[in-house]
Structures are given as C-alpha cells and as structure tokens.
C-alpha cells in the first residue's frame, strides 16, 4: 500500500463516479437515473471501506465489478418485490450488459443526453459536471458561483428532462447527432472557460473544472462518433490554454494571484499539454471547416510557441482575431484584438482603438478592459491616467486574485512615480 495524495484520490473518485453513473444509467435505463447515481455512490463507499487496507491494482476494474454486481442485485430485488411483471427484465439486461470496455461510449451517450435542447447552455454544462464528471452539487454551484440550493433545484429539473426522454442519446445517429455534437462541444468549451477564468469558478474547484474539460475535449477528439476538425480544434484550444495554467496563477500567502502573460514564467508552461495541443491543432486542419475553436486554438498556439511577448507573431494573432471577430463580434474579442494590434502599432493607437470600440459601455464592468487601458497608459508613460483606470478596474474586480492583480499594478505605478 502506498500513500496516496488526497487530491489524486478525490479526482479519481470523481472521474470514476462519472463513468459508473454513465454505465449504470444505460443498464437501468435513463428513467432510473437516481438508481444509477445511488449505486455509483454505494460503490464508492464500498471502496472507502475496502481500499484503506488494500489498494486494488486496478481501481477502475474493481469499482466496475462491484457496481455491476450491485446493479444486478437491485434488479433481482425489484423483481422479487414486484413479481415477474417487472418492467426491467434481467433477461433484457443480459442482452445489454455493463461492460467496462464500453465505458467511454457510455460517457459519450451521457454527455450527449445532458445537452438536451430544452436546457440552457449553462444548465447543460452544470449537468455534465454533475453526472459525467462526478462533481457534488456544492462543487457544481462553486463552479458557477451560484447558491447550492438553487443549483440543486436546477439539477433536479434538468435530470427530469433527461429521464423524460426515455432513452439515452445515441451519438452515432447521424443527422440529429451532428446538431447535438455542436451543443456538446459548446458545453465543454463553457466548462473550460469557467475553469480557466477565476471570475467564473471558485478557486477550490477551478483547476479541476478546467482539467475535466480538457479530458472531455480529448475524449470527443479521440472517439470515432465525435472526432472531426471541430473536436480536434476544441481539444487543441483547451490543451494550449491549459498549458499556461501553471504559470498563470501563483499561490502567494494563501491567496492565488493572477500573473499576466508578459510576466509569466514560460518555463512553467506544461510541455506535455503544449505538445498534445499542437498535435490536435494540426489534425484540426484536415478539412475546410474553420470554427471559432480553430481560431481561438490558433491564437493560443501563437502564444505558446513564442519565446517572449516581444517575439510573439502579433501580425498573425491580429489576422486570427480579425477572422474570429467576423464569427463572434463581441466587445471582448474586439478588446483582445485591439490589445494585439497595440503590440504592433504601439500604445497610442491601441488606446485610440479601445476607446473607440463599438459597444464599449458593455465592457465597463469587465476588469480586464480597465487592465488593458491601464497597461497601455503605463506603456505610454502616462502614470496618472494609468492609476485612474487601474482604480476603476479594482472597483469592478470580481475575485481576490483579480483585486490582487490591480493592487500590485497600482502599487508599482505609484512607486515608479517616486
């Protein structure tokens, strides 16, 4: 028995819970989702009981075996209780058995089922976190900064939508699946976004949410039913952004503080994820499709291959932002493009462009808008102006990490004024 890290086991339990729920749901039928969740939970409790003394060589196989036996017992008990007219006939179940090697396919079915068109994008993502990634209701609430009770209500309603559907969604059904696949990818994208931006998810779950999104994006890219240029681009995007996470936030005195791109220690970027991301990026170019994911992955790739901010290929990044803005004309994209342009044309023109952005007022509550203005003013040497803008950013910062970023900036501007 080796000592095992608490976080590693927490992640293992979460992930295996998702796999068990998916496989058990297929076994019991989606109408018995609660039963699948109960049996998965009991299986993990059985593991807690047994593994402290003897850790199994193959934890996943152990869990699967125990869950399968318990599922059979449940059916047998139900059958005895109700007589032989039970709607769940064990003979039928034998034709559609729980097989460990079907785990990934079951997870895909569950992901597709969670993205039911009558649910909002956020709810789809929340449901995936709950059912596919094994997050507890409180953790899902933390991932969206919402109240646990409200989240519980939302999840219960969403599960009912799934159960009413009567069956799990088959990702191999062609036409319908193509449409649904877009929603599934969007849900994974939103999940990654929530995990990547500290303002969306609480610090305790943030990195786990991001790494789950990477895991699911890779699953979509590597599964026959879902692979394709868009899935590869999504995988590339999550890996290439994910690679920068270790340098992007550093622990300082019990707090996490955000480190802007130009101050990040590039040696701390995750080389494995970079490699994986680049390989998916090249696979994503196998067709004519150019999705938002392709463009965002392309931008992320330019950053990770650059040796420094100065040596970054800003012209290419601006070109990609132009294409992205055509597909996704949001003020945030326009802001990012203006920042990239300022690296070529200087802070003066950057400021001019940002202050002239269409829909600029919608950025008023966005702290990184003020951060961008402040940085450009610093580059111009206009410290009073910079301080004023950074104060505005501080006022609308949403987390301690963001507040810390602004405080450090304001402090360094004040110090340099002497």
């Amino acid at each position: 028995m080796t000592a095992r890290d608490e976080h590693a086991l927490a992640v293992l339990f979460r992930q295996e819970s998702g796999r068990l729920v998916a496989s058990l749901t297929r076994f019991f039928g989606v109408g018995n989702l609660h039963l699948a969740e109960d049996v998965a939970q009991e299986t993990l409790v059985a593991a807690l009981e047994t593994w402290s003394r003897e850790f199994p060589p193959n934890p996943r196989a152990w869990l699967f075996h125990v869950a399968k036996n318990r599922a059979r017992d449940v059916v047998r008990r139900q059958r005895v209780r109700r007589g032989n007219d039970d709607p769940v006939d064990p003979d039928d179940l034998a034709a559609d058995p729980m097989r460990e090697q079907d785990g990934d396919a079951d997870v895909l079915r569950m992901m597709f089922s969670c993205c039911h068109p009558s649910l909002t994008e956020d709810t789809q993502t929340a449901l995936i976190l709950r059912l596919v990634c094994g997050f507890g209701t409180n953790e899902v609430a933390l991932a969206f900064f919402s109240e646990p009770a409200a989240m519980e209500k939302r999840l219960v309603r969403a599960k009912k939508v799934l159960a009413d559907e009567g069956r799990l969604f088959e990702p191999t059904l062609h036409d319908e699946a193509r449409e649904r696949a877009a929603a599934v990818m969007q849900a994974v994208y939103l999940m990654f976004d929530a995990g990547y931006h500290s303002a969306v998810a609480a610090e305790v779950v943030r990195l786990d949410v991001a790494s789950e999104a990477i895991r699911l994006a890779l699953l979509l890219a590597n599964s026959r039913a879902t692979t394709g240029p868009a899935a590869h681009a999504l995988a590339a995007l999550t890996c290439l952004h994910g690679a920068r996470i270790p340098a992007r936030s550093v622990a300082a005195g019990g707090n996490h503080t955000l480190v802007p791109l130009e101050e990040q220690n590039r040696a701390h970027w995750d080389a494995e994820l970079m490699k994986l991301g680049m390989s998916h990026l090249s696979e994503s170019a196998s067709g004519a499709a150019l999705t938002v994911f392709h463009l965002e992955a392309g931008i992320a790739a330019q950053h990770v291959v650059a040796a420094s901010v100065e040596m970054t290929h800003w012209a290419e990044i601006v070109r990609l932002y132009d294409l992205l803005y055509a597909k996704k004309p949001t003020p945030v994209v326009a802001l990012s493009r203006a920042i990239a342009r300022s690296r070529i044309f200087g802070p003066e023109s950057g400021l001019e462009e940002i202050l002239g952005l269409e829909g600029r007022e919608r950025l008023d509550a966005y702290p990184f808008y003020w951060a961008a203005l402040g940085d450009l003013a610093i580059r111009q040497g206009k410290k009073d102006r910079a301080a004023e803008w950074l104060e505005r950013g501080l006022a609308c910062a949403r987390t301690d990490a963001e507040r810390d970023l602004f405080l450090r900036r304001i402090h360094s501007v004040a110090a340099s004024k002497g």
Binding site: M1, T2, A3, R4, D5, E6, H7, A8, L9, A10, V11, L12, F13, R14, E16, S17, Q41, E42, L44, V45, A46, A47, L48, E49, T50, W51, S52, R53, F55, G134, F135, G136, T137, N138, E139, D208
Partner: protein, 119 residues
Amino acid sequence: MAKFMFLFRGGGITVQPPPPPAELGAHLAKWTAWVGGLVKAGHVEVGPPPLENGGMVVRGTSKTVTDGPYAEAKDLVSGIVVVTASSLAEAVELARGCPIYEYDGSVEVRPLREMHAGR
C-alpha cells in the same frame, strides 16, 4: 505487547446522505495514510476482512431474526481491526489518529484477553 480490538462505529461509510465522490476520495486518502502508518510500524494484526453492508440480527429467547441495519448510523459497527500496542494508553493514542471523526464516527478500543493454551 498487548492486543487490542478497534471497533469502528459510524463515520464516512454510514453517513447519510453519502458525501460527494471527491470528498470520499480525499477521506480515503487519510484512511490509507493512517492504516498504512499502523501497518508500517507493525501495529496491525491480521484480522477479519472488511464488513459487508446489511446482514441479520438474531435477538431474544424467541430468537427473532430481523434485517439490518441495527442501529442509528453513528452507532453502526462499520469496521474492525486488531492492533498490538504496549498499553491501553498507546492504543488509544493510535486510535486518535483515525480519520473517522471527520464524519462523526467513533473508535472503541477494547483490550483482548490473552488466552494461554492448556490452562
């Protein structure tokens, strides 16, 4: 050296509703660390395997048989282990390291009587 039985009651195994997966996993890590430490220091005797859920209770002169569970979750025996320690005080000290208290569990430390063959 004397032998002691640790009777675990309640804890993460019996708590309702069960904690979410990540919490159970993190809790398990504490158990493996605690049990691992006891094993490494040579305190753990080979005992019975872990208990299954449920079972039956036979009670009274009429030998009535009833289904488990038998008690409130926090009183339910959730595990057994036999340890060796130099004294009751040391055994209690070992039991204090158990993570079961995180979920309102308890450890009953009972000295085992030494039996001498032939007497």
